[in-house]
């Protein structure tokens, strides 16, 4: 016996409990007892923490004015940040030379932003300009002393500018050194492997803070009299060595995840070691570990604050130096929130970029 339904069923609207605000709330906020409890906790947090925080930061805050007397709202005194902004951005870089730092900032932004835009042409070339061209141009612009611009000692560098210099150089140098170390650690040649393992384990085994102390306090003791090279350079070398050891281990993880068949196929085609690494293995391995690489970059970016203990004036150190200024009282929170916000912006940007990169490089393969 067969049953045939000849009438066509009309499309009925879904019940109110499924759509609109009520439906959304049912599905997302009150779908289970646990969810219900979490919703209540969330609501409690919003009322006790976020609303007062919002009130402090925006509603009752003062944004304009000249000095402490403008801060009457009882909330945050952003006037302080506005007043010291130049110091937070440029450190002690001479006012008249700000334009040089600004050019570097603009170049950095101009080369970075296209990397976020899906369809932008010449991304490859812009990428190379960013990684190779920008450091060279920035070096001459910031240091000066040539091409008719005055020399600015690195002791005067500070603030966001110094933080960016430290982290950018760190990132640009740590990645290639990390790659070389990771390849060396997997080499068939015992001497090379030994050197790489030794290097990696040495730097991973000490805290960055002691590396920086060593670089700034102990290194000069070992160097011959008179040869006293730049404090910033020493800190940079310390940071790069330290972070490249971490980077090497992240990349080694990626290399290990590549199936043996890929190495064999590359060998069988006669590609040779460097071509097979450069064209076949590393592109796949690096893609696999993008989250780990960006994680290391973010850690590096935040770790640059440690240079304050050897007397370099990065963004955090310049905030600390400013909040003890007697002209301002009780502005520590504002200063630290500002510094945290600057860090968050950059780290969030890196994180988003890595997600976009992963999506773009996904070629739908399964192993």
């Amino acid at each position: 016996m067969s049953i045939i339904n000849h009438s066509t069923s009309p499309d009925l609207p879904p019940p109110v409990t499924e759509v609109g605000v009520i439906g959304w709330m049912r599905h997302n906020l009150f779908s289970s007892p646990l969810n219900f409890a979490l919703t209540l906790v969330g609501a409690y947090l919003i009322f006790t923490f976020f609303i007062p925080a919002f009130d402090w930061a925006i509603w009752s805050a003062n944004f304009t004015g000249k000095d402490q007397s403008a801060c009457t709202g009882g909330g945050a005194c952003w006037v302080f940040i506005a007043d010291r902004l130049n110091f937070f951005v440029y450190g002690f870089f001479p006012d008249a030379e700000y334009w040089r730092v600004n050019i570097v900032f603009i170049l950095l932004a101009a080369l970075l932003i296209p990397q976020f835009i899906e369809a932008f042409p010449y991304k490859m070339w812009l990428g190379w300009a960013l990684l190779v061209g920008l450091p060279i141009v920035s070096y001459f612009l910031l240091i000066g002393g040539s091409f008719g611009i005055v020399h600015v000692e690195t002791e005067k560098w500070g603030g966001i500018m110094l933080t960016l210099v430290l982290s950018f150089v760190g990132i640009v140098a740590a990645l290639p050194i990390g790659i070389v170390l990771a390849l060396g650690r997997r080499s068939n040649m015992p001497v090379i492997r030994g050197i790489c393992i030794g290097f990696i384990e040495l730097w991973r085994g000490v805290p960055l803070i002691s590396v920086l102390f060593m670089a700034s306090v102990m290194l000069p003791l070992f160097l011959p009299e008179g040869l006293n090279f730049n404090k910033l350079l020493r800190a940079l070398i310390g940071i790069v060595m330290f972070q490249s050891a971490y980077m090497a281990e992240v990349i080694r993880g990626g290399l290990q995840a590549i199936p043996k068949g890929q190495y064999e196929a590359a060998d069988a085609l006669g590609l040779g070691y460097w071509k097979s690494m450069g064209l076949i293995i590393l592109p796949q391995a690096l893609k696999l570990v993008i989250p780990g690489i960006v994680n290391t970059f973010i850690a590096l970016f935040k770790d640059t604050t440690l240079v304050l203990i050897i007397g370099l004036l990065d963004i955090l150190a310049s905030v600390q130096a400013s909040i003890i200024d007697p002209a301002w009282s009780d502005v520590a929170t504002e200063g630290y929130v500002f510094a945290a916000f600057v860090f968050w912006i950059f780290c969030f940007g890196m994180s988003r970029y890595s997600q976009a990169l992963e999506r773009k490089l996904h070629t739908g393969h399964k192993r």
């Binding site: 590609l271 071509k275 739908g364 393969h365």
Partner: protein, 260 residues
């Protein structure tokens, strides 16, 4: 086992000059003696099928020919060049010897066309445009030119294996090695790969093929080699080999694979 249509004449295009010579070759994996006293001469244009039970050393044997594995004793001479630890010789031989693997081993981060053109561009220094032209020709020969812009992960197994064959052919090799090229494939895809291999045999390519496709062996091979326990047990022209096996182990093996 799949049916095979194209019918090359067994025994054509063998011109006598030696392509591969293996003389008293031994190999060990640590303590394990995996290849024992292998002697094998392959003339150019010859097509050889190697079979034998699992673990008998078939893969190891053909992987020694392009030195994916190193032998410890004896001599292997490929295309007139002896395989030693000399890297130059190894790279020279690998340029002339193509290889297809059981699991295809295409490069998943490159498109099909890039997979094919990569080695000609970087190893043979062929200009990109020319390499891509050649790549398209070979894709047409293996009947999947429309897949050129896709990535390997988007292709079926049979298509991937045909791409892998085309990738090796783009290097214009003198010798092709196949290590169980159809054993990871679903039955309906085996035939499309075998057809490509038969066509390749028709062109007079020197081929060494580890496979259990007996139909393929009968149509294409000049010689079938049976291995067991790291030794070559028996070696014969295909009809004799299947109809009239000499050694007990060969008989046992044939009865086992013909049983299903």
């Amino acid at each position: 086992m799949s049916e095979i249509q194209a019918q090359p004449q067994n025994g054509t295009a063998v011109n006598g000059s030696p392509a591969i010579e293996m003389i008293d070759v031994h190999k060990w994996y640590g303590e394990f003696h995996v290849l024992k006293d292998i002697n094998l001469n392959v003339s150019s244009g010859e097509r050889i099928v190697i079979c034998g039970p699992s673990g008998s050393g078939k893969s190891t044997l053909i992987r020694c020919i392009n030195r994916l594995e190193e032998h410890q004793r004896g001599q292997i001479i490929v295309d007139g060049v002896e395989l030693t630890s000399d890297l130059k010789h190894i790279e020279q031989i690998r340029r002339e010897v193509g290889m297809c693997f059981q699991h295809f081993n295409l490069f998943p981060h490159l498109t099909i066309l890039e997979n094919l053109a990569l080695a000609p561009i970087w190893v043979r220094k062929v200009p990109r445009a020319e390499a891509e032209d050649t790549a398209m020709q070979y894709l047409e020969r293996v009947k999947i030119p429309e897949q050129a812009a896709k990535y390997p992960g988007q292709l079926s197994g049979g298509q991937q294996q045909r791409v892998a064959i085309a990738r090796s052919l783009c290097m214009n090799p003198k010798i092709m090695l196949f290590d169980e090229p159809t054993s990871a494939l679903d039955p309906e895809m085996i035939k499309e790969v075998l057809d490509v291999m038969i066509e390749l045999a028709d062109t007079g390519m020197t081929m060494l093929c580890v496979t259990h496709e007996m139909g393929f062996a009968k149509t294409v091979a000049n010689r079938v080699i049976f291995m067991d326990g790291g030794e070559i047990i028996e070696e014969n022209e295909p009809n004799e080999f299947f109809d009239n096996p000499q050694h007990d182990r060969t008989k046992l093996f044939l009865s086992q694979i013909l049983a299903h």
